[in-house]
């Protein structure tokens, strides 16, 4: 600090422990309402369910044994993984070219495009979900458009299907991916692209050799985010597919509110969290291998 440290001590004389007061409110809120509940959740997952007292505070692994011994629950993990991964891949494939275009756009065009692509962030997700529900209804636009193009003849059954789920989740989470991707693409140094072009590299090679590796950290963080959000989504599956596709978040909700088996709900939540973390690290490892850099950003 040197001189500036001296001056600051002269100007703020009695402020040596002021940081305690300054972080105290935030620290208190997050310890009490984030850390303690998480510890409590982890603890409850190892308690015995009890019909009267909801749980008996004695250590047990029965909740996990029940989960892993039943193929139904394995199917649930598989479904949740499938929804999460498929949504992530689709969102990134659809989103990357858009992010590229957005990062080049300027002025009014940028505002107009941004307004359309970012709108889901500014309106409660129920509005977008309702919109897709209407579009997917038998009398909806999707049916009409596909029919007029001659792609389908009979009534479509999109609603309540896996496809509908992925479409809606992708729609809701595309803005998050775009935000990360746009800032990632914008930070690619212009000189590198110019240098490559001067040396005669075709556009596709510039993309493959420069833009893609340099934006890999952005791709990973957006993939992690989209996966975490879509694999844990409860509201969209409830509204779009109902109970027809068993998913972990729906099970968590059912055990919490309907059967009041809180220890089992907690065990389900821990398993969902574990899956998120495993996929997260898998993606990070994959990126490091592709871009051969130890750099990545977690949201």
């Amino acid at each position: 600090m040197g001189k500036s440290g001296l001056v600051s001590r002269l100007v703020y004389p009695t402020r040596r422990y002021s940081w305690i007061i300054m972080i105290m409110p935030g620290l208190l809120v997050l310890v009490i309402f984030f850390l303690v509940p998480m510890v409590r959740l982890a603890q409850l997952a190892f308690y015995q369910p009890d019909p009267i007292w909801i749980y008996k505070p004695a250590f047990t692994l029965t909740n996990f044994a029940k989960f892993f011994s039943d193929p139904f629950y394995w199917g649930m993990i598989f479904n949740s993984l499938r929804v999460g991964l498929l949504t992530t891949v689709c969102t990134l494939l659809v989103g990357y070219p858009i992010a590229y275009y957005l990062s080049l756009s300027r002025g009014t065009e940028r505002t107009i495009l941004t307004a359309g692509f970012m709108l889901p962030l500014f309106v409660t997700m129920l509005v977008g979900t309702l919109g897709w529900y209407i579009l997917f209804l038998p009398f909806g636009l999707v049916q009409r458009i596909l029919q007029s193009l001659g792609l389908v003849s009979g009534p479509l059954r999109v609603l309540k299907t896996f496809t509908a789920l992925v479409v809606v989740l992708g729609y809701l989470h595309l803005p998050y991916a775009l935000l990360i991707l746009v800032s990632s693409i914008q930070s690619v140094p212009r000189e590198k692209i110019d240098a490559a072009r001067t040396l005669g590299a075709p556009t596709w090679m510039i993309f493959l050799k420069i833009v893609l590796p340099l934006t890999m950290p952005g791709i990973t963080s957006s993939a992690i985010l989209v996966f975490a959000l879509s694999s844990s989504s409860y509201l969209v599956p409830v509204l779009i597919t109902g109970q027809s596709i068993p998913l972990l978040p729906i099970a968590i909700w059912r055990y919490t509110n309907e059967t009041l088996n809180w220890p089992f709900a907690a065990a389900n939540a821990l398993i969902l969290f574990a899956i998120t973390i495993v996929v997260m690290y898998g993606l990070i490892l994959l990126t490091n291998r592709i871009s051969r850099r130890g750099k990545w950003e977690v949201v």
Partner: protein, 264 residues
Amino acid sequence: MRGRTMLKIYVYVLWFVMLAPIAITFPVAVTNTAYMTFPPIGFTLNWFKECFRDQILAETLIRSLELAALSATSAVVIALLSSFAFVRKNFPGKNLVEALFTGPRVVPLIILVLGMLLFYHSIGLAETFWGLVFSHLVITIPFAFRTLLASVSSLDIQLEWSARILGANWLTMFFRVIAPQIKTGLIAAFMFTFITSFNNVTMALFLSAPGERTLPVELFMRLQVGGISPKVPAFSFILALVGLMLLIVLDKTVGIYKYLAGEE
């Protein structure tokens, strides 16, 4: 250049796809029938008028606005204080505290809310308004903290020294010296935490009392019953218009990409 044109077409087609689900709520809301249908039969704005007459919607709207205002204000104040401590001071366990401040972002919402539900039941905060405010703070503080940390670290400390030497007290210094420099960061943090809190469904769905629904929970309940009345898309369309206006204003004033990148 052919590739550029194709990219442009692709982007604009996707732009329409993104707007379609929100735009479709308008035509289904102007129908003369008591159920949603497309294309609409007849034309009426009655369903929009109905929204403004709906007592329950008004009641839940006020509750949601209160909740969002309260949690956004507290989140910004809390985050501002802690970001000053983070930028200006070194203290033991700083990394751990930082992990705690950003931690809620990596935990899926449904897991967070389940933990809170279990915890609230044991301390008697379940189904209370304050319990809901604190749960919203947990998701809004990390965002406000991240945004303000960037603003506070760009502050010019010499201006504060000058202000102190010239005899300004803390209040004057904050409002005349600090606040003007971090204005956009403060606006962005407040607006985005407000919007996050106002739009959040999950927290209130698990934690609020049955008679004290927030607006999104009320909408969710109306979506879950069969035979959705055209009033629901009408109201959704109004919400989308408000959201669009906020978006454009924010993009013009503080810039969306700068402050939202990496937001969950």
